[in-house]
Every structure is written in C-alpha cells, then in structure tokens.
Symmetry: D3
Subunit: 309 residues, 6 copies
C-alpha cells in the first residue's frame, strides 16, 4: 500500500476537472467547439438499431404480444420513432464529420434524404434476413426451428446489424454504420465491417472471433464458423507513413463456400465457388472453384507421458 501512502487523503477535485477539460486536445477538442450541434449519441444509435430489429422481426424482439390484427401498429410505431432518431443522429454525424456547424440547414435536408433512402431499403433487408434465417436453420443440426435461429443465434443477430449498417455505409453516412456493427460485435464477438458485401443465405455458426474486413465480397449461401478471419495481409503506407485507406485488401468468397473454424484467409484473394476451407487453414492465395483446403492430417504429433506443454 506504499503507493497510496504517498498521496494525501484529500483530492482536489476542481483541479483534476480543470486538467481533464483542458489537457488532451485529441479528446476534448470536440466538446470544446462552439458548435451548437451536439455529438452523435452512441447510446441512442444502439437503441435505434435494437428498435429496427424489433421492426424487422416483430414479436421476436421488442413487444412479444403482437397479433395479426395489430402488427402494423407496432411496426409503424417503432419505425416512426426510428425515423426521428435516425434523422437526428445522421445530422449530428454529418456535422461532426465535417466539423462545420454553420450549415445546419444543409445537414437537415441531407439527414432527411438519407433516412428516407435507408427506409426504402428496409423491405429488401427483411427479405435478405429471411433467407439468412433459413440458412441458419438448414445449416445447424442443433436448430429445432427457424424461429429458434431468430431468437437465439448470434450469427443472425450479427447479420441483421450488418445488413442495416451496410445500407448506411452505401449511403456514405459517417460513423453510424460502424457504431451499429460494433454493437453486434460486442454482443456476439463477430466483427463484420459495415463495408463488407454479403450475399444471400449467409450463415455464421457460433461465431466468436470471426473478423470480416471492409472490402470483403461474399457470395450466396456461404457458411462460416467461429474464429475465421477474412482479413488484410498488410497495407501500403503513404508518404507520411500512414496506411492508405480505401484499397481493396480483403478476400472475395464466391458462392457456396464453407470456411471452418479458425481458418485465416488474408489479402485480396478469391476463394472459388463451392470450395471448402478446413479448420485452422492459413490461406494467402487464390483457390479455384470446388477446392478442399485442409491442414495436414497429423496435427497430433506426439503422444507421451510427462513433460511440459
């Protein structure tokens, strides 16, 4: 307890507050602007994403007691609230990203237009998710019904957030898509960048540790297991030594591919349609359609008693 002994019993809170408010420009610059537009609210964006889930899967999330007769009331009630929140948060994100408070009106109009564009896509998103649910049911012998997949499968939750975030990403909304994706990541341990393009009937089983990079392109009916990385190999730096952003650097996974747990696929490589990538495989080059890639059979090399690991 020697550390504590050195300091006095009394802390000068106002002095500490003063230092926290002025010391680190990286952090406090934002709050310190005279701009009137507040920062985006991470908490509100997350709640909005959960409300959207309740609108896409009515009864499964949000209020349980929906009936055919009143279904539209609930969905409409939820979406109306989401629309308001989304317009507000997009406006904040735009102002935040451009660091420009003088154009409130322009941001207002853009936020309204972007929200409207997003809402137009919701039926298509729901259609894609219905396919993902069927893929989960068909891909897991432990699934009793498609409903169980909706209720319990982390892969379904993640792809739901991803498909929503991806629509916002395509509309070039800053920040929001990433917050929505990271929320799913924090719940499921599955990290899909909002930029990744994912086809129909996509299923991730178990999922913890999966990483799917920004420029990935994934075909239809692809299945992925826990611990799979679809990542970048390394990235070129610009003249200042900073990574150059926006270059295609993640794999293309064609239709009907299965990637088993722990496999790592790095770089802008293409995994041909119908291939099967075995567990723990480490891949950094193209694979033709119909391939099976597995690690060497003899992974358990030594049997012995005694000795350290």
């Amino acid at each position: 307890m020697s550390e504590a002994k050195k300091s006095s019993d009394k802390c000068d809170l106002p002095a500490i507050v003063e230092r926290l408010c002025t010391g680190e420009q990286t952090i406090t610059r934002r709050a310190g602007t005279t701009c009137c537009e507040p920062l985006p609210s991470r908490a509100d964006v997350i709640r909005m994403a959960e409300r959207l889930r309740a609108a896409l899967f009515p009864g499964f999330f949000g209020i349980s007691e929906v009936r055919a007769e009143t279904l539209a009331f609930h969905v409409g009630h939820v979406l109306d609230e989401v629309q308001r929140t989304m317009e507000l948060q997009i406006r904040r994100c735009l102002a935040f990203s451009e660091d420009d408070a003088s154009e409130g009106t322009r941001f207002d109009q853009a936020a309204r237009r972007l929200t409207a564009a997003f809402f137009q896509r919701l039926p298509e998103v729901q259609h894609l998710l219905a396919g993902d649910v069927r893929a989960a049911y068909e891909g897991d012998p432990a699934a009793r019904t498609p409903d169980e997949a909706v209720f319990c499968y982390p892969g379904v939750l993640t792809i739901t957030n991803h498909r929503l975030a991806h629509e916002l990403y395509r509309l070039e909304v800053p920040l929001l898509p990433r917050i929505i994706s990271e929320h799913a990541h924090s719940i499921t341990g599955i990290d899909i960048h909002p930029g990744a393009q994912v086809g129909q009937h996509f299923f991730i089983d178990h999922g913890t540790g999966v990483v799917i990079g920004e420029t990935c392109i994934i075909g239809d009916r692809v299945r992925i297991y826990q611990g799979v990385t679809l990542g970048a190999k390394s990235f070129p730096l610009d003249e200042e030594g900073k990574p150059i952003k926006g270059i295609p650097r993640h794999p293309i996974i064609e239709d009907d591919v299965i990637v088993y747990s722990g496999a790592t696929i790095l770089g802008r490589v293409t995994i041909g349609a119908g291939s099967m990538i075995g567990g723990n495989v480490w891949l950094t080059r193209d694979v033709p359609p119909g391939s099976r890639v597995t690690v060497q059979p003899a992974r358990e090399e030594r049997f012995q008693l005694g000795g350290g690991i």
Copy 2:
C-alpha cells in the same frame, strides 16, 4: 452520395410498414397467427436467468446488502418472481413450439409441472456450482479468493447459466434453454450448448471463443482454456439434404483432462482420463487415458528481417 440522390426526400412510412408486415412469411407468420398466446419474451427470459443467479449466489448478484438474518427473504422473494416468470414463459414456449393455441389449459399444467421439476433441482445446481467455484480458485494462480471467482470469472458465469439451461433441456422445455445459454455466450464468448453434459468441478479460464457442442459429455475436474472447440466433424444429411438432428457427434472428455487454448477436438471421439491436450492441437480421433498431445515443437520456423507476413 449518389445512392441517396436517386431516392426522394420523403419516405412513405405506411407503405413500408405494409410491406414489412406482409412480405416475409418466415418472419411474420408467427406474429400473424390468430393465436392468443404471445411469443416468448427473450428479454424476460434473460432477466429471469439473472434473477436465478442472484438466488444461487445471494449477495454477489442482485442486492448486495444481504445479511444472515434476512438471507431467506431475499432468496425467497427472488425465486417467487422467477417461478411466475418461468411458468409464463414455458407456457409460451410450449404453445409456440407446437403452434397450437387451442390447448391453453394443457400448456398451463405442463408449465407448472415443468417449473416445479426445475425448482426441485436448484439445490443440486447450487451444489455443483460451489464445486465449480472451488475449481476456478484452485485452477488459476491469479485468483485471490473463491469469492473473486464468483464476482469476476466469465467461466463461472457461463457454467451457471449452462447448469440452469441444461436442467431445462433435460425437461425438454423448448427454446428457453438456448436463450439462457446464448445470453452467457453473448457476455463471455463461451458457447456451451444446453445439451452438453458437464461433470463436477468444471473450470474454463478466460474462455473467449470456447465452443462445446450439444452431445458433448464432459467428466469431473476438467479444465478448458480460451478458444477450445469441442465440435462435430460433419453431419449426415437426410434424403432432403437437411442435417439429421440428434445424433451423438461431439467428443467425450473423461475425468481430469486439461485442454489448452486454441485446441480443436472434433467428432464423437474420447479423450481418456487424465490426458493433457496442448494448445492449438487439432484432434479428430480417440486418445487413451494419460496422454499428452501437443503440436510439433517447431512452430516458430523462420527468423528473418524484412518481407511480408
């Protein structure tokens, strides 16, 4: 922002609601039935699981201010609430699974009987958990006291939810066990299927990425580290190409086995008592008692300067 420009500034919310409510039968069928029994509430089930944790570890979770004198009041108060919630949610799960609203009374009785059977098991579950807590304390040099294991260890939280979920699984309650297990999975990254049979004094350290399949059988005093998979190799399909459900397809881990981080054991194989499975090992066949299985010693093959990964 080209995407947004195409769409109008105005979104026709009622039209979107209409489409979301009618388009996808996979999703909206449930809400669209005329059945009066609402869907199970995932949120309520999760809250119930957390309340059970507060009853099994009084003071550690839920209200902190319990005393010897009032301990029974708190536990009784919590369990009474849990009993009501469980009866309600089991009834909904039964109706939901059988898709049959005409037999409310039958489901009522079954829900009451199943809840009573579950409650009978609670003291035994607490007894098993006390053993798991001791295993955690003894298995981790960083643990200062058994209490620290209760408060902080993700492995203890997960096995708590698992032992509760497994009792419901044995009673053939649909859906509920999986929701409870997935809740632990979302918190800890440890995915144990409710069907897995787990012996006494079980300890998972760190735990993120662990997957334990439905038909696993795990003995006493087993210890497992992060990233371990006890999974299925592949599963036979039925005539329609769908996976056949319910076949034993996951490993049997006998007493006193340790499985180190990142190891993968697949299929209905048996790991003999007292064995030690090293980190990153990939195992798809039986191992006799007392074995040590490790990967080849030379994993760091090349030392060099320069070059890509």
Copy 3:
C-alpha cells in the same frame, strides 16, 4: 418429458429457499456473516467504470450535448458521483477481503485515501488514452478519424478500462480492478488482467479472443490483433498442490512489436523491440530485437475434391 413426470406439480418453495440458504458454505458464507458491511456491488462498480469513461472522453460517452462553456460542469458532476461510489465500494472490498467488520473506521480512511490517490492519476490516464486513440487511428486503414476510434473501437474501450483498473491494482485495491477489467472483457472479448503493465500508444485491433496475463510487461507502440494470447506456460504448485501465486510468468513485449492474429506467446519470454510475430505463431522462447517470426508458408497442404474434413 419423463423427467418432469416424476416430480409433483407443486413445488415447496420455502423448503427450496431453506436449502439454498444453508447448503453451500462456499457461496453463502459471505452473506451469512453478521458483518454489517455489505458485499461490493458489481453492478455499481460497472456503472462507475462507465461514468469514468464519460469523464475521460466527455461528449463521446455519457451526455452528448456538452459544450466548451459547460464542459467542466459535466466532468465535475460525473467525477463527484464517481468519487462517492468509489469510496463506498473500496470500503466494502477492503472489509470483504479482510473478512473483518470490526474496523469500519480504518477502512473508511483507507478508502478515502485510495480514492484520492486514484483521482490524482486521472489526468495521466487521460493522457495515455489520447495516445492510444492516435495509435488506433494510425494503425487501422479503415479508421476515418481518431474520433471514430473513440466511438467504436473495442480496443480503445478495453485499454480505457485496463488503464483505470491498473491504477487500482497498483494501489492494491482488492476485487475492484478485476471487476472493471472483466466488464471490458465481456463487451469486447479482450481479456487483459489488471496487473499487466502496458506502455504508450497501445492498439488492439478487432481484439476478440485476446488474453494478456497478470505479469505481462508491454512496451510502447505495440500493436496486437484478435486471438493473440500472452499467457503462462504452466505454473509451479506449492506443497498442497495449489498454484503458487504472484510469480512472473507472462511475456515481456518490448517497444514497437506487432503480434498478428492467433499468435500464442507463453511464459516469461522476451520479444525484442521492433519484432513482428506472424499470425498463428506459437512461441515459448525469447526472440531478439528486430525478428520476424512466422509459421511455415505451406499451411494449405492438400487440394482435393470430396472427402470429409
């Protein structure tokens, strides 16, 4: 449903409560003491950690609507509340750990002194975090701005909790640091023990499955990817067969090291400055500065059509 049939429809709740309250001394002993000091509240400690995050990154977390003019009010308001909670919870942790209720006054004074010592460190912690944010921005081509790293990056969240927990660990506060670390672990899947010493400009990307042990020492400008373990090899047991606590047993990572996804480094080994440890590498010995360690290039051994995994 045979299991359920055996048990009666009625459950004797008071009898079950009685058994839960008396059966397992490991669990109920704490609640059963006549000590007046309640147990620490995990929920309150977690909320406190989140409030601290709002004080260190004002506007990003907590209330979004901060302005330069009112920044100090918000930070001061939050810290005042944190100070009260921390004093209370430290007092409970001290009483809990020493199992000694007779010295309330002594614990009061210690809690006040320890809290004051912790608060003195907050500006320095904020300074370190500002460096971590810059490291995240510079280390990830997908990051658009440093702000995005604050809002969305699990690595930043985890190192925030870690730096706070580590200060408490250095002050020898029991339990609290671990609860704060585990909270980050549950959100991000990154498990850093509060004892680990971490240098400046630290960045963990994606992060799920990372484990960093208690006695790790990590230098400046280190970057780590998902699934990396910096763990112990094995640990000596004392005469009773219990692990000896407190021995240095985890790696030392020197400045400017990068460890790619899935790598495992075990034991008190030193990774020399500027080294690059490739994905999935398994390391249990020292590595000189400037090394590149990678797995064998040929991991995808067999291409074939047909056959099981």
Copy 4:
C-alpha cells in the same frame, strides 16, 4: 428520546415479519388465499388510464412527435397494450370480488367481453371530451386556446378519467373504475365518483375540493368551481347499523347550471335548469329552473382594529 431508549438497539426482523403476515386478517386474508389469481395491480391500472388518455388526446399526452401520417400507428399501439392490460386487470378484479379462483375460464371470457364493450365506447367518449374541452375554453377567460385546456386544465383531466371510469362502472366492472377516479382525484383534488352521470360540455374550473357523489345526475353545459360538494345528507342504516348501499342520495343538476366555489348541495334535490348557485351557498332542497341562490350579502360584518380572529 425516552421512547427510543426503552427499546433495544437490535430489531428482530423475522419476528416482526411473522407478526405482520399473520396478525390482521382484514388485511392479509387476500394475500393468504391459495387462489392463484393475483390481486389487481393499482399501479398497472393507473398506467393504463394514462395510456388511454394518450390514445384519446394523441400528441398531447404520451409521445409528442405524432404526425398525421403516423397517427394511427401510435393510437393503435397504445390501445393494443391497453386492451391486454385491461383484460388482465378486469379478470383479476372479477376473481378478487367474487373470491372465487375456481372459475378462471369464466372470468377470462367475461374480461374479454367487458373489455370489448368498453373499447366500443371509446369514440363516443372522445366525442364527449371534445365537447368538454370546448366548454373549458369558453368558460375561462384565462384560457388562450382549447389546446391549453387539454394540456393544463385539471378539470379536463378529471372528466377524462371520469368518463372512462363511468363506462367501466356501467359495465359493472368492480374496483377498476374507482381506482381510475381516485387517480384523477389525487392529481386534481376533484373527487367524482365513477357512478355519477355527467352530461355534455361539462367544465370544472380550478376544482380543488370538488366532491360529486355516486348517484349524482348532471345535465349538459354545467359549470362548477372549486370546493363545490354535491353530496349526500345522511344515509339510512340497515338492521345491523350499516349504511344501506345503492340508494339515490345525491343531487340532480339540470342543464346550464353554474355552481360557484364552496357551494354545498346535499341530498336527492333537483337544481332546476339555468340556475346559478352562488359561492358558499348551503343547499338541501329543490330549486326551480332559472333561480339564483346566493348567500346573504353582508358576510363582512365587522371592521375593527385589534382583537383576535
């Protein structure tokens, strides 16, 4: 502090609990039945009444952000929830009143039928309330707009709850109407028994202290001020000395009557149409149409300096 000194420092909580649970049959009898139907929940009934207010005056109460486009979603969402709550609470009230747990199914059907009958009346109730709002606007020179009356006037709030409670009273639902009326009473100090029959365009200004008895009949366009009592004179007792219930015993107020503050009208008397009853008047007999009843002009009898009141 002599009282406290006599008692010990320690209280035997379990003993006190035991006494509270067994001592007073009047109070604990209800909780002590083996009936499975819980008591009605006063808190839920009150919340239900407030939700109904949000459905009748959309935008004024509940969510503020309604628009023409989404109005129906909000009203439908609110009413669907109200319907569930009302069915549940009516069922409990029926079981509670009849003290008969054996007929769950009968109560279920009755609750559904009564709720449906209540809902049929909602448009008519809204129509009456629109008239009451206009009466408030026209009756108070301080009212700027009819909207202000909806937002701020205690008289409008009270008549809203009354008209809802009265519909339930007419349907002979036990308990519920009274809880709804008392809720308005607690907010506004206006006590209208649910049994009172109130005509169109009714306005109570200020209102605190108004009492309107169960068998009152009030015509159209009646205006009442604070502190007015429309009460019973005395009531006949039965052979056991208990008041005989259900006899008409409160005034009949015909159309277009104004009753000023503090007036008291007692017994089954009739106040003829168009009459004006002055402040503080005490009336126990019939008054023909077109009357003006006032107290003697000389109420300020003595002017003097000094002396007590």
Copy 5:
C-alpha cells in the same frame, strides 16, 4: 352485466383506431397537421421544472450529496440540461401557438433569446425564494428550521414553481408557464395563475384549495391559509358571448395582509395594507388599510340532541 352482453366478445381495434384518429377535429387537428415541429411535451416541461428546483435549492432536491467543493458542478450540470430542454420546448410552444411551421428559424432564435432572458432572472428568483423560505419559517409555529420549510412545505414548492412560471409569463412564452403552475397545483392543491404578481416574503400555509387569479397583485409579507380564493366576480362577454380576455378582474392585496382559511375575495378590489381577513369571510369590495374583517361570531347557532344535519 346486461350492458356487456349486448356487445360482442371481439373488438375491432383497427376500426376503433380509425375513428379515434379522424373523428374529433378539436382534438386530433394538432396531430394531424403536416407541420414537422412536434407538440410541446408536458412530461419534459414538468421534469424541467423539477430540475430547476434542484438548481435553485441544491442538495434539497435532486442529488443530496452536494458539497461546497462540488456545488457549482451540480448546479451547472443541471442548468445546462435545463437550457437545452427549455429552448426546445419554447420553440415547440411558439410553433404550436402560431400554428405556423414555416418559420422554424425564427422560432429557433426566439427560443434562444427567451431562454437566455429567463436564465438572467434565476439569481433574482432564488433571492425571492430565500425570502419566502424565511417567511414560512417565521409564520408557522410548527416549523423547526427554515430547512424544514424547503423540504416539506407545499407553499414553498408552489411559490417556487410560480416564480419560475411568472418569469416565463412576463416573457410572453405561451403554454409553458401554465404547465409549470399546474404541476404545482396537482402536487399541492394550490392554484396560482402564472400571471399573478406576488411580492416578497410570501407564505401560504397548508394551502389546499387556494386559488389566486391571473390579474392578482399581491404585496410583500402577505400570508394566506388553505381554501382562500382570490378570484374574479364575473366576467364581461364579447359580442359572440365569449369571455373577454385580459381584463384586470382579481383582487389587489397590499403589504402585510393575512387572509385566513376559507376566505373568498372576488373582483378587482383592494385589501389595504396590514389588514387581516378572517376565516370564511366573503369579500367583494375594497377594505381600507389596517382593517380586520371577520364573520359574525355566532356561527354555531343550535345545540341539540337528535335530528338530521
């Protein structure tokens, strides 16, 4: 139960919703506009008033744990939130009152200017309230300390809300002042119109049933008891038979007047300084300074046994 029998068991909720949304223009017109500015939120205004109370009486309301050192943090934190809410709600009130959605920018500026003007007055309001607190302590023999008056006295709560509402009334903010006043009315039964002008050291004891009209002018050191009405006699109607608004029609109460319980003073009369108006007095004309007005001494006229009331 004959009423219920007539109606069917099933209610057509969508049809009822349709009728509620379209039937009553008085009520639904507002929600039905295409105006984008939402209605004011009564709930938010009330919460704002309570927050203001916490800023004016720090420690007594809101957070209890304020200290000299951190007082400014709490007050500043609260006021910053109030400022945001007030600007938003004033903007809504302005748009609502003018029924004009096309001038969002103008309302924005006005709301900011009005809020700033209101805030300038807060120190003066606090100064007046400090005087009211002393008046309460000195005016009630049951008050132990001035602090007790702050904590418990309904008169102090009401005058707090009134002084805040009156400042907004003077700034001609629509609706808001009335909502704030009515909130106090609902809690205390004391109904002071926001327009009333109240001098220093004002004390209302008990207070239930007090009514103070819009154009009242009350001097310094006035004391009022429960059930007192300072009202209008009657009000002239315009050509359409509607009350003419804005005419001085309530009493002027000069300095140092006491009005005892149940007294009624009506019309634009002046109660001279230092007068004492006795309980239940009914006054409709001027009273010179220094008067004592009481009811006739013999109010208990008949003593007898038997007979009705």
Copy 6:
C-alpha cells in the same frame, strides 16, 4: 416581447451558476458546509414510505402476485430494504438538524436504535390500520368491500402515512415524519401534522382540504369529511416577535364525533364525545358531549332572476 428584447441572445451560464451557488446563504449554506454527511434525500424517504405501505398491506401495494406461501418473503424483503434506508436517512436527519458532522458514530448508533424502535411498532400500526379500513368500509355507503377502501380511499392512504410518521415523531426523529406526512398531503389533499394523536377506527371521507394541526388529540371512531380544519386560532409570539413553538393550540376531538365537510374548529377546545359538527360550522369554543352543532338553516337567502353574484 419587449422584456426579451432587452436581454442578449446569449446567456453566460457559468456566471449564473456562480451567483446561484454563492448568493443566498439561507439556501446554499447547507450544501456549502464541509460536513461529509449528505442531506437527507426527500425522494428516498418518500420511496421508503411507499415500501412500508407495501409491507403493511401486502399484495395491495408493491407486488400484486403474493401468495400465502411466499407472503413472508415479500414482507421480509421489503422491510429489510426499508430498514437500511431508514437508518441512513435518520442518520442524515440527525446530522442535518444538529449541524454537527463530528459525531458520525454517535449518529450511527442513534439511527440504529431509533429504527429498531420504529420497527417494533409496526405490528401495532398494522393493527390500527386494519381498524381504520373497517371504519372506512362501514362509514361509506359507496364502499363495496373493505378491500376497496385499501385500494382506493385517500383517507386510508393518509392515515397510513400519518400513523407511520407519528411513530417517528414520538421518537423525536427530525424532518422525516414531516416529509412522510407531506407526501400523503400532496397525494390526497389531507394535511395531518405528524404530531397529531389519532385514536382507533378513524375515517376521513373524500378528504381534500382537511387540515389537522400538530397538537390535536382525536379519540376513537371519529369521522371527518372534506374541507374540515382542526386548527390553531392564533399563536403567542416571543419577545422577538417569533411564534412560540410547542404550545397545545389545536382541538381535542373526543370519541365518536363526526365533523361534516367544511367545518372549522380552532384553538385548544374540546368537542365532547358523540357530538356531530355540521357542515361549514365555525367553532372556537368547547362543545359538551352529545351536541349537534349546525349552521343556521337559512343559508339560501335570496331567490331571484338576474343580477350579479
């Protein structure tokens, strides 16, 4: 809007905060002490009173779903929480009243002793309340069952809070009793000072506007209606012109008295047993047992058409 125009658009919030924190010693003195004991929390005291109500009337308030089997769990759970809150709040009240922070330990012990003494009285309080409930049922022809009185009668709510507050008053606990009484006052409009001594089977009907002073003594089976004042006439001042505290100055109401609505009884007078005090009576002298006191029969003096009030 001239007022607003004068002030600038911008408000200097920090300056206003500064003035609010330093200007009014009457108000900010408390928060400005260096005393570590926080002020009592009015919100927590009110919640505590409501919890006590749930313990005294289990099932009627708090959780509805109590059963005979689990009754004790709920009551015990609630009381345990109340005990903690009460000890804390009494300690704060003692420190606050004595303005002495140096004797924390003494206050601790006193708070524990006073809480224990209060708890000993709870069964007796419940016994008295059971009598009050019966009195309400028997005294109101509109009451269908005693249960309805518990659920809905403001008189029962008020006497519940009063009997609790009176026990604390007898124990000389400062502040707390008054906060509890005022809470009931704010809900029901019935203002009973905690010092008033109230006998068995007490019933207040409707109740709004009732005031019962600190030194009142009320016998058994007394019934009181709305608007009744049992007050003080005037009070002697001390040499400094301040009211002398603690002198008996309110009426004594003997057994079996009924006081009808609007009656006012002032001063230390005695209303003899079995008397009936009529509506609006004004009494300032003793009344022998068995009296009937009523106002003059002819209160409606003039019948006429036309003219003002």
